[in-house]
């Protein structure tokens, strides 16, 4: 898989690995990873183009603005897990704690 794995891309992959089966929103990912929209979205676009990420519009209540959601495809999940295993794992730990603040207390 030809994909430039910058530290920012690794952060995004790590963020998606936390509760990987759940759909995630762009702004939430931005807060979790600390990446600005100008950095985050090009990464999401590349991941989606490489079929590592699937996108979907939220089926919300009528009148409520729909949001774009993202989650790993099976290929994306395999790719991210392989890279997370190769990585030191420091980034993954940080993101996991950010997504689940209660995890910090339990730890």
């Amino acid at each position: 898989m030809k994909l430039r794995l910058s530290p920012q891309t690794l952060l995004v992959l790590d963020a998606f690995l936390v509760q990987a089966e759940e759909w995630k929103y762009g702004y939430d990912l931005s807060r979790v990873t600390g990446l600005k929209s100008g950095t985050l979205y090009p990464i999401l676009m590349r991941l989606a183009e490489k079929q590592l990420l699937e996108t979907q519009w939220e089926q919300g209540e009528p009148g409520k603005p729909q949001r774009h959601m993202y989650r790993f495809t099976p290929d994306g999940l395999r790719f991210a897990r392989a890279n997370a295993a190769a990585d030191s794992g420091a980034g993954l730990g940080q993101v996991a704690l950010s997504l689940h603040p209660q995890g910090l207390a339990e730890a």
């Binding site: 929103y25 100008g38 950095t39 676009m45 603005p65």
Partner: protein, 170 residues
């Protein structure tokens, strides 16, 4: 709604309107997220970053489209391009012969009688241009094949003309 947030919404709506079809979903996604951002200035920063991201994405889409178009046209007009190259080579050779004639005429004015001397005539109009044709053909053959072929064709044509001339008059 504060002024920065209003500006952010306007910016992202404009981006959504102007974005190519391939980027529109992403632009719409960024616009929707604006409603969930706390703080007007944060919303404006979000919109600025989003606009930059869409601009980059649109640029890559257009670049890919241009590359595809250029490749397609290259394949379709390959024969035409070669023909133009050959024509250009022949024209260059013809221009060189024209220049040789012009130089001979000027020398004839400066040195009366030179123009009618057979050795000067053959040297200026035949030997030097033919030597230049051979050198140019060898040098251009690999990189500018069609042009080299045009020059070679003109050189051969001239040599044939001289051969016919000698056969008929001598």
């Amino acid at each position: 709604m504060g002024a920065p947030r209003t500006l952010a919404a306007k910016l992202l709506r404009a981006v959504l309107r102007l974005a190519p079809a391939e980027s529109r979903d992403w632009a719409a996604a960024m616009l929707r997220e604006l409603d969930f951002i706390e703080g007007d200035w944060a919303a404006l920063l979000w919109a600025l970053g989003s606009a930059a991201a869409i601009l980059r994405h649109a640029a890559s889409v257009w670049r890919a489209w241009l590359n595809r178009k250029s490749k397609k046209e290259t394949g379709m007009n390959n024969t035409g391009k070669k023909a133009i190259g050959v024509g250009l080579g022949m024209l260059s050779a013809l221009a060189l012969v024209g220049c040789a004639f012009a130089v001979l005429r000027i020398l004839g004015v400066v040195f009366p009688g030179l123009e009618h001397s057979s050795w000067a005539y053959w040297l200026a109009v035949m030997a030097v241009p033919e030597a230049i044709f051979v050198v140019a053909t060898v040098m251009l053959w690999r990189k500018k094949g069609p042009i080299a072929a045009g020059i070679l064709a003109m050189g051969l044509g001239m040599a044939l003309h001289v051969a016919v001339h000698f056969t008929l008059h001598w």
